[in-house]
Symmetry: D2
Amino acid sequence: MLSFESDYTEGACPEILRRLAETNLEQTPGYGLDPYCESAKERIRGAFGAPDADVFFLVGGTQTNSTVIASMLRDYEGVVAVRTGHIGVHESGAVEYTGHKVLTLPDHDGKMDAGELEDFIAAFMADETRDHMVFPGMVYISFPTEYGTIYSKAELEAIHEVCCGRSIPLFIDGARLGYGLTSGANDLRPEDIPELCEVFYVGGTKVGALFGEAVVFPHHGAPAHFFTTIKQHGALLAKGRMLGIQFDTLFTDDLYFKAARHANEMADLLNGIFLEKGYEVFIDSPTNQRFYVMPRERAVELHGKVRFEDWCPAGDGKVAVRFVTSWATPVENVLALRDLI
Amino acid sequence: MLSFESDYTEGACPEILRRLAETNLEQTPGYGLDPYCESAKERIRGAFGAPDADVFFLVGGTQTNSTVIASMLRDYEGVVAVRTGHIGVHESGAVEYTGHKVLTLPDHDGKMDAGELEDFIAAFMADETRDHMVFPGMVYISFPTEYGTIYSKAELEAIHEVCCGRSIPLFIDGARLGYGLTSGANDLRPEDIPELCEVFYVGGTKVGALFGEAVVFPHHGAPAHFFTTIKQHGALLAKGRMLGIQFDTLFTDDLYFKAARHANEMADLLNGIFLEKGYEVFIDSPTNQRFYVMPRERAVELHGKVRFEDWCPAGDGKVAVRFVTSWATPVENVLALRDLI
Amino acid sequence: MLSFESDYTEGACPEILRRLAETNLEQTPGYGLDPYCESAKERIRGAFGAPDADVFFLVGGTQTNSTVIASMLRDYEGVVAVRTGHIGVHESGAVEYTGHKVLTLPDHDGKMDAGELEDFIAAFMADETRDHMVFPGMVYISFPTEYGTIYSKAELEAIHEVCCGRSIPLFIDGARLGYGLTSGANDLRPEDIPELCEVFYVGGTKVGALFGEAVVFPHHGAPAHFFTTIKQHGALLAKGRMLGIQFDTLFTDDLYFKAARHANEMADLLNGIFLEKGYEVFIDSPTNQRFYVMPRERAVELHGKVRFEDWCPAGDGKVAVRFVTSWATPVENVLALRDLI
Amino acid sequence: MLSFESDYTEGACPEILRRLAETNLEQTPGYGLDPYCESAKERIRGAFGAPDADVFFLVGGTQTNSTVIASMLRDYEGVVAVRTGHIGVHESGAVEYTGHKVLTLPDHDGKMDAGELEDFIAAFMADETRDHMVFPGMVYISFPTEYGTIYSKAELEAIHEVCCGRSIPLFIDGARLGYGLTSGANDLRPEDIPELCEVFYVGGTKVGALFGEAVVFPHHGAPAHFFTTIKQHGALLAKGRMLGIQFDTLFTDDLYFKAARHANEMADLLNGIFLEKGYEVFIDSPTNQRFYVMPRERAVELHGKVRFEDWCPAGDGKVAVRFVTSWATPVENVLALRDLI
């Protein structure tokens, strides 16, 4: 059955499988201390214009979020995120499990507002009882967000300025970074990201890899002994070169961005079909996740023909639904939707 | 350069890569809710004679240890392990990071002694101050151990009997389980394992997979909501079928045990060479890790020709060294050692 | 300077100091294993009509909340509280520090609504992604609340019914329990409390003791080895009898309730004065904390004459202020306010 | 019945109770922000010759240990202690509960050896696998130790020198500090302590107070926002002045040291009696805890007449027993022992 359920339903870009096969019997040291990881790091530094960056490879997103956040917070600090942030909703309390509170702000189609962030921190600083409260010690945003929306350069600059003004690091969850940077609506260059945050990660799992996330601390900013922290969090892959080979391949010949761009193009095509058919857009996302409103009965019927996610109730017997494309989505699959919806 | 450094220096059994390639563009649900995982679980239940077992797939060993241990202990309990146990030495305090103490017993070539375990628990129970202490809530052993040694069936039965008598679950870390079960010195059948513990895992990372550990709770014994616990620990793979495909392949046509048996045979061959050359055995391991004593100068020189690990000082200017074979070790590599050592 | 800043500005009921002095040189075992603690437990069981209750003494409120909550949740569970609940705002993240998320509901003058609680849990249960979320494992309310408001018997029954229907324990933070039970607006008897929750505590610190909170698990419901959990949380007092003597005294001759009733009477008197002077009530509390709206300038001026807390901005250049009475507040102090405000 | 069970069987020095009574109805701010705490801090700075010290008051010893240790360690670090250290044995895993491992060294009558400490850290630094291990991030010793023994100035200097050389802070648990500093065998002045560690605490609970421990960071060394950390650990007393009044009293007219000296004198007297009666000394302690060997039957019989602790089996049907004196022990009680033992 056709599936637009998520961007992690398929395997990996064929180039990755090919290189895994080619290198299979080579013997290299474990834990990421191999030449493939070194090469991949260098390519990522190049792609993001951050020659001094510290780069680390972890396996998955939730793991990366809790490892990075815990490593950068002091015990008495929490992380600020919007109410719909992945860390606060769909990570089974992984951040709290490390002892830290997620402090929440309202979201605007998944995005944080710089002004609201400033107000929140200012109110905290002005509160005479703040020594009995959790200190905001980091700001977490996703690019793109849970809703596929993206920050403009101006919006991201505004948030980073607030963070700098308060000496609070900004962490960008880039689980779908590629889809954001190759969106037609995006005005950020890859080189802008390291300038506008203290740490971000380049998502592999959802953008063409079997698994893997590349954490980047621009300008040598990694916390002391971050390798050990990764190990302590159970996030250190023994055969670390599997991560190196994947990211080395993704950042060769621009594969990462080509794969992401394809997904966005398929999403644009899909969007045209939905609009043509008269569906109401639920959230106006410019990346590979698209959201529409449909009568619940229609959705129920459609679930028999194609896989997609019911996102949330949309009132009046309607439901918001999500369709997701990936690097692997064939154009025929999208076109096939025209007859189904 | 030739390497006997560890059993995770190569990729995966070629059968695994082949199936990853064959299935690459299929679309399946994430998080292990796919048919490959189901099939793999069924094969594992079959291989270990445990038709009612709950089976879960995680990515790596340290992660598996801390997730399983934390899920089965109450907050006031700790886990009992020998002094040289992996969880107490080489996991960067991952168990303590979840809030639990590792209570240590002496080791005997890496093994726990059932009598010492009984004495330890009996002493705890007899201690009038025990309410101010950490309760022993689980027993952790490795099969094979850190030193490649294995428990006889009688030894394992004795430990399990102590655990049952005290109502304390026994956890077997099987990161190298295959190498233990196919050792010539072993008298345990795969079906014995589920009978003699409350939880164990079948290591994939070190026995032919790219990564992956299969946690088995015999007789429906999984802790409530263990899926959520895996997620909370950052141990849930989004593209979960990668684990299913690997274990499904490993437990098809006995591949797992064949791969392990090959490594043991290569280790036996290697051992013959070391003995022939007059080296002293440091620890008498019957699996794929072998330990010898050599003059430090000889070891330094040898490091220029072949990769292996210096294990520990052995007195008198000598050093204990470790040589490890794997499912992938070619016989020529072992034979090449004869001229080098 | 006159102070209505809080109910923990003075020492303890003189009867307590007297008994501490009388018993000072007696020698008793530590850690609460003394006759005074036994007697105090028995008196508390009597006062709350819970002859089978397990009773434990801890030192302070934040400590009690995090110890009780952590002891009753599984790792994958969180505690549900209203947005203004003390555990979510003014305990420096003590609950998160133990690894658990505080799941928030809206508050209504500090209170939880049973319907909203039911909806929240129902929505969680209906959410197909719930295995990636934090499970609601306990419900936390305060009686009285942060705003001095109290639940009616019907309201508390409704909340408890939701909890029972979902098999989720209800925890009542009774840091100011005495003030609630002796309020003129209250329709709950002490004997009702054990019937309507799985655990509650009787606050001593804010109701006449130097310090101390008595945790009550009705019907033998204490978590296994709760003594050890208390110790692990650093909440076990070495000279435990200091807690026993205090609670034994408070629950002799009804002292606890008399002391609380006095504070409520002083608060009623104070309220009459504020109303007489034409102040607007901010939140209509029937206990020892009272909230009024006043122009910010007036508040600033008044701070020079009497201690009280600015609670929050109230719009239009106004501020909400809090005045608190205690068991120790002399009637003259209240009357003196008439000339100041 | 006569008791030599511990030094926390009685209440507090009468001077303390008197001042609690005198100040009882005063109104002061909570949480230690009162004049009594300020005065007490100043007196402690004076008594220990540390005019720039940051001083904080906590309630009990286990709480103080885990709060201080967690506040000074990074997540990947553990604390080094001897095998018999209180934090590793009798605190119910409170340190591990905060996520940190206790790394153990052998003890010598309860004491750490500087050479063994240096060797341990040197071995860690030389271990090529150290990035997979827990980093030693703090050293913990007690003065006096669990066995009542004390470090000479030279011994303490040697340990501190190792710590300084490795940039690892030294923490002295002074739960019984007074008894150590007033021992006839001691050659350390109070002013030496701040020079020879990065943090220590002055135990009140066991030296004349109802409860309370004063944490001292010499030279403004407190971790950032330590107040909030105390709150997060549930260790912040609402009526904080109770701690201030107690320590202010203890450090007025040398009461703290006088009380401790009395206990030591009583212990010397008791020791004379035991030696006169021909008992074998088990551990030669020069402070208020004394250890002797006696036949088990004799011990059983004696338990019917006087309270004391059986410490551990001493072989051959014998048992080591502990007798403890306190600031409150009357000379008649000690003399009464002559007829009993």
